[in-house]
Symmetry: C2
Subunit: 482 residues, 2 copies
């Protein structure tokens, strides 16, 4: 909840002028000096604003000439609609597709546009390795010796301190370290629900959450989520009035797969609404540190007054997925969550906890985030641009403000499970829309992992676009018969 | 299933002579030369045999004089009876005690006779730390980058190779790496059972397994286990005939808490019986590498012909509990187990997997085991001796041949939960018998963690003995009234 810096305000105004058509593709922008005068800000602020817009591929500098509006800003496809009614309650179906997708991630020969894996080049592996080695030396006993949940106190203190940026005052004693955010959410669901219960989820939602609900024998009410404004609160309100709901699971910031967030007001309303209904909220904030505009948005937990919010996150997207360090602040469900964690596996591995605690303590994390936020913003902008070029007319695409996933809505007759199979044979993996819901929706949607965008992988986007085009044009099966 | 070396045969014969009274406490044994002639083995073999018996505190060398039978061998209390009828099916009760016990383990000011924690001095923390650092350098990407289950192939290959010693031919593809053996068993139970199902367990059994059964809403039939011969197979046969059982959970080697094992024949019979009944076996072999006689016993899985055995183990007792590296070979339940692992937490941490794989590959593990097996044998022998001295008359005690736990049966009127509370106030933690069962049994029993035996902790055994004595003598509450 940092205050918006001036340069971002200026950049925002310019972006609005471009969006509104004041400056069109190829137009030259006012010089830095001119803009400084017009906007009544310092020359330096304009420089930073222009450079920010460059990172987002909105404008480009041409040597000896000035700044120009990039072509891409107009080619970019529309945002997806997603405004259908909520689905449910209903039982969830099969899991084969998700297992295949997970297995694809271990295949180094594939272009990893499927699972939301961070770019290996943006993982500070060497630095973390040194910290890991250091911790094993200086804390040999703590590192190898008996460990039990809630996990490293040092790490819990560092997380509590970090989360102040998200408006959240946590005591280290409230936190439990988990094996990634997945375990955090899985524990929370098990603590709050018994088989047959109904869970309200933002939809579409991370496919592994759908798997969890299925494994636990839970029913689902899917609350529509806007690619721009996040969870549709009125739909949730309606569901709370009409159904008996055991808990609500929401990705509050840069949601997976849509990339949209609730505003502060929205979060506050969500927390109040659920507290009023006596329904606990599982809040997943795994992408919270990955805002492209270098801001740290609030978490809903910041407005939690009675321990009704179970906040879950991890360092798997920002630092090192292989370290498997996540956490949960389970509010008034602390004792039950701790018990379930102890029974499930006693504790998560110690050495990686210590290494990440050191990383946070050293201040290295904040610097690292600045680097990767910018990098992911750039990757998504360039990938979106490529999609605009190569995908069939009618394709819609999200404009996430954080994280590194893009969500695409293809023309209605394209089945993205078919696209997945074709792509797999070309050594490209994608995440078909169907697995992001408990129902049959999103069949013409897909999520792409923008972290693996690079010019070298442009061919893969081009290839996906061609395959999608073919699936569009494919005549219905009947007409193949004479 | 190594062949018994000659020195151990000789040592066994001498131990039998001591047990039979041929040599009594304080008697001088034949000199090494004499014994070599009598037993028709080399002088060196006798030397090693005597040294082995010394480690077990059966005999002692007196300088310039020879070898003598130690006093302790006669003072050692009898073995516990434990021959009651099976309990169940019934619901399981509370968990507060276990959470308190787990919390005690993080208190450095306490004597850790409670949880079965290895001796920190016997954890190769520095060596593992170096391997951890090495792996993070040479496999930076694999270590920090995205990882997914089934986990490190390198580690799985090393485990498969190692388990050949237990008569078990495993393909690395059959294995799934878990967060300790606890997660392995928890996954297996979830895959095999639904709430309300009945599980047959060896009893008494590791308290966390009792917690798991409770959390999962399972019913329990407790099959009596002998402190000498392991699981009572006839009781299991009876249970299989009379109840509908979803699966059977057994610690086959050096069971926790009793320390007894099934013979090869017993294991074979167990596997055949369960396969015949169509009931899967979850086999926990966590102590399998900790045989005091330096042998590696077989696992029941070695006789599994149709994938009916789900074998679980870890390196938490032998190498580093904090690394949380365990594994499961789930037989024909591989796909279901892998799916549940992926959904639960995607994967366990990578760096510690790589470090342990290196440890195994380097041959360091076998050497390390020789050292710690001997150390734990000695610790248990000395602790048992101290218990014999300080505990009330009528106390019975196990003679485990592996692992590092001792199980005590105190006079019937001693409530070990009361003893636990008193001991806690003296900064000693123990594991009361009650938590090792789903029922009300074992109220006068307790498990002591022998890994923390040392002369410096003798006062704690003495103190426990005194408290137990007081609890024995305490007049019944009625008689306090005039």
């Amino acid at each position: 909840m940092d205050k918006t810096p001036l340069y971002r305000e200026v950049a925002g105004r310019i972006a609005a002028l471009v969006a509104g058509g004041t400056f069109k593709t190829g137009d030259r922008l006012p010089s830095i000096r001119e803009m400084s005068r017009q906007a009544q800000v310092s020359i330096n602020t304009v420089k930073v604003a222009y450079s920010h817009l460059e990172d987002q591929c909105l404008i480009e500098a041409r040597p000896q000439s000035g700044y120009y509006v990039c072509p891409r800003s107009l080619q970019l496809p529309k945002e997806p609609k997603i405004n259908r009614l909520g689905i449910g309650p209903q039982e969830i179906s099969s899991s084969k597709l998700v297992m295949r997708l997970m297995r694809d991630t271990t295949d180094a020969g594939m272009v990893q546009f499927g699972a939301a894996i961070p770019d290996p080049k943006l993982i500070p592996a060497q630095k973390l390795g040194r910290l890991l080695a250091g911790a094993s030396r200086s804390h040999a006993a703590e590192s190898a010796g008996y460990s039990t949940s809630p996990g490293s106190k040092y790490l819990r203190s560092q997380i509590a301190r970090w989360m102040l940026k998200a408006g959240c005052t946590l005591n280290p004693e409230e936190l439990i370290i988990t094996t990634g955010a997945s375990e955090a959410v899985f524990l929370a669901l098990q603590v709050l629900c018994k088989p047959g219960d109904t869970v309200a989820i933002g939809s579409p939602i991370y496919f592994n959450f759908v798997q969890m609900l299925q494994l636990l024998g839970l029913k689902v009410i899917e609350i529509p989520t806007s690619p721009v404004e996040g969870l549709h609160l009125d739909s949730l309100r309606h569901a709370l009035r009409t159904s008996s709901i055991a808990c609500c699971l929401v990705i509050s910031n840069y949601s997976n797969p849509l990339g949209s967030s609730l505003t502060d007001g929205g979060k506050q309303e969500l927390v109040a609404m659920l507290a009023g209904a006596g329904v606990p909220l599982i809040e997943d904030d795994i992408n919270g540190d990955l805002g492209h505009n270098d801001e740290r948005p609030s978490v809903a937990k910041a407005w939690d007054r009675d321990g009704n919010v179970l906040l879950c996150s991890s360092f798997s997207k920002t630092l090192a997925p292989g370290y498997r360090v996540g956490w949960i602040a389970p509010g008034r469900y602390h004792e039950a969550t701790l018990h379930r964690k102890l029974v499930s596996n006693i504790a998560s591995a110690s050495p990686t906890q210590l290494a990440i605690a050191e990383f946070l303590a050293s201040g290295g994390y904040a610097h690292h985030l600045r680097v990767i936020r910018k990098a992911y913003a750039g990757k998504l902008a360039r990938m979106a641009d490529a999609i605009g070029r190569y995908f069939p007319t009618g394709t819609r695409i999200t404009r996430p403000t954080g994280g590194f996933s893009l969500w695409l809505e293809l023309p209605e007759d394209v089945d993205t499970v078919a696209l997945y199979s074709r792509a797999e044979s070309q050594h490209i993996t994608i995440a078909p829309g169907r697995i992001f819901s408990s129902g049959d929706g999103f069949r013409n949607c897909l999520r792409l992992n923008g972290a693996f965008w690079s010019e070298e992988n442009r061919w893969a986007v081009q290839s996906l676009g061609r395959m999608a085009e073919e699936l569009c044009r494919k005549p219905p099966i009947e007409s193949l018969e004479p």
